[in-house]
């Protein structure tokens, strides 16, 4: 009891072996079925996400949002889908047809692939690989490839600019992201997500709050969501990499982006908020799925909150934020966590958590002090009186020489 998914799986396996199918083939069919069920579940959830996103953004912007179709406008996403499906499907002239058409698939499929390693409950998970954390980094990188392919194949300068910006953004934000990911790995002594969830007593958000924050920020950057959405900045490059896409091909990018946001939320929950952990989950494993999604939607709300509260950053500000702020901070945090972890071998969990939490708070305080000093210097520099037109003496002499 309490685990209907494995129950159904075992029943089907017995049924198939009862028909005389070999054990290997039965396992294979069950795996394929699991993948199909999982992907369908996520894509159906994706439809709900469209509605949720539109409703929440409307509230942030003091509007009501979709409210005509069905109660609370709940049928609106289906109308949207029908609209997308009957739109004209355009491939621009001079586009690289094959790459242009597989790019949206890449964008959505890589997001779905990430769910393969996320544990839903103590007994329910796709694949318990021992390198799950690295797998997630790898899939994220492949997903970015979809954006680059879309930008290049569209034969459009704005799309290409969007792709360039994506590469700059991804390459710089991957560094602090991987360092922040190392901290739960270090605390759990494993790269498997199930082992990381098992090790979370208490949740890692208490032991490493700063790592959670860095991971969330860098993940939002990899998502390409506001305030990091320079790769589709409407006011600068129209729509960026997906400018030429119409109908359902655009729909795949859109669905991929929303689902990616939920995936990131689920990852933050799994790595730092205890994943499926919650009361009675040992007796009734299926409750874990509920807990995971509650936590994931909480983080999803935070991501939407950030998205609709902050203006877009300029590209130099964004890259500076990653290289000059997040990367050094993540490195210092990793080194301090490793040293303290080694120094406190054999300490009780309470002492361990308190010391780690204290270290994080101290580090935040020190960072804020450094930032204040920097801001003071910067303000003084900006406030300095400068002549209206400047030419250094050397330039000036050169000009005279030419005459």
């Amino acid at each position: 009891m309490g685990d209907p998914i494995n129950l159904i799986g075992d029943w089907l396996r017995n049924l198939m072996t009862g028909w005389g199918l070999p054990e290997n083939l039965a396992t294979f069919i069950l795996t394929v079925m699991g993948v199909v069920v999982m992907a369908s579940f996520l894509l159906i959830l994706d439809i709900a996400l469209v509605w949720l996103e539109r409703k929440v953004v409307a509230r942030f912007q003091d509007r009501i949002g979709p409210n005509r179709l069905g109660p609370f406008g709940i049928i609106q996403p289906f109308a949207d889908i029908i609209k997308l499906l009957i739109k004209e499907d355009i491939t621009p002239q001079g586009a690289d047809r094959i790459i242009y058409n597989i790019a949206p698939l890449f964008a959505l499929a890589t997001v779905l692939m990430m769910w393969a390693v996320i544990p839903f409950a103590p007994t329910i998970l796709g694949a318990d690989v021992n390198v799950a954390v690295l797998y997630i980094v790898a899939t994220g990188a492949v997903g970015t490839l979809g954006v680059i392919m879309a930008g290049w194949a569209s034969n459009n300068k704005y799309a290409l600019l969007g792709a360039f910006r994506t590469v700059a953004q991804m390459v710089s934000y991957e560094v602090p992201m991987v360092i922040a990911l190392l901290i739960p790995v270090l605390l759990a002594r494993s790269m498997g997500l199930q082992a990381i969830v098992d090790a979370q007593q208490p949740w890692f958000i208490l032991v490493a709050p700063l790592a959670a924050a860095i991971f969330l920020v860098t993940s939002i950057a990899e998502l390409g969501r506001a305030p990091f959405d320079i790769n589709e900045a409407e006011s600068e490059i129209v729509a960026g990499f997906h400018i030429e896409y119409t109908g359902m091909k655009f729909g795949l990018f859109y669905a991929g982006e929303l689902l990616h946001a939920l995936t990131v939320s689920a990852l933050v929950s799994t790595l730092f908020l205890g994943g499926w952990r919650g009361p009675f989950v040992d007796q009734v494993p299926i409750l874990g799925v509920f807990y995971l999604f509650v936590k994931a939607f909480l983080i999803y709300y935070v991501i939407m909150w950030i998205r609709y509260s902050f203006p877009r950053l300029r590209i130099d500000q964004m890259l500076g934020f990653s290289w000059k702020f997040l990367t050094p901070l993540a490195l210092v945090l990793l080194i301090l966590t490793a040293i303290l972890d080694k120094a406190m071998e054999g300490a009780t969990p309470l002492v361990y958590t308190l010391v780690m939490l204290g270290m994080n708070i101290l580090l935040v305080w020190a960072t804020v002090q450094v930032l204040r000093t920097y801001a003071r210097v910067e303000r003084r520099r900006v406030a300095e009186r400068r002549p209206v037109a400047t030419a250094t003496e050397a330039d000036f002499k050169e000009l005279i020489g030419q005459e």
Partner: protein
């Protein structure tokens, strides 16, 4: 023939086919994308050898970092992306001969190795491969020296790139 062998053969054909396409594709971006497929094939081969860590690292480093930077560099040079000249020059037969010799030499060398014909031994139960690799990398009896040398080399490259990019005041 087991499923394992069929999967290996498909992977090998895809990898080699993609590698041929890398050198024969007309557009540089297409070459780079075929290269990604070839590197992915190598990752699948690692997976078939039950080395999950190398599979993932292959994807992270070769596809996630190197290939994407290559595509980035290629996309910046929009004018030279399309090459209209002939794909081969007069020395093509020498390259063919050399690659056959190299392949033959390697195959011969491997066939004289005693481990060539033996089946893949099963991994002992309960060994965390990633942990074993990590310990081996920093253990003085194993690979700590090459590991440190590689680290110093990377650090030097990092500092070098900063020096090159430094704005002269």
């Amino acid at each position: 023939m087991s499923v394992y062998q069929i999967v290996f053969l498909i992977t090998a054909v895809v990898t080699l086919g993609a590698a041929v396409m890398v050198v024969s594709a007309r557009s540089l971006v297409h070459s780079a994308l075929w290269l990604i497929l070839a590197l992915f094939g190598v990752a699948v081969t690692f997976a078939l050898l039950s080395a999950p860590f190398f599979t993932v690292v292959q994807v992270v480093i070769y596809i996630g970092a190197i290939s994407i930077l290559m595509i980035f560099a290629i996309m910046l040079t929009r004018r030279v992306m399309q090459d209209t000249g002939p794909g081969v020059n007069q020395g093509w037969w020498m390259a063919l001969l050399l690659s056959f010799l190299l392949f033959g030499g390697l195959a011969w060398m491997l066939s004289t190795w005693e481990g060539f014909g033996t089946a893949l031994p099963a991994l002992p139960e309960g060994v965390d491969q990633v942990k074993a690799l990590g310990v081996a990398l920093v253990s003085p009896n194993a690979y700590v020296l090459p590991f440190e040398v590689a680290s110093v080399l990377l650090l030097a490259a990092l500092i070098g790139s900063i020096v090159v990019a430094w704005e002269k005041k």
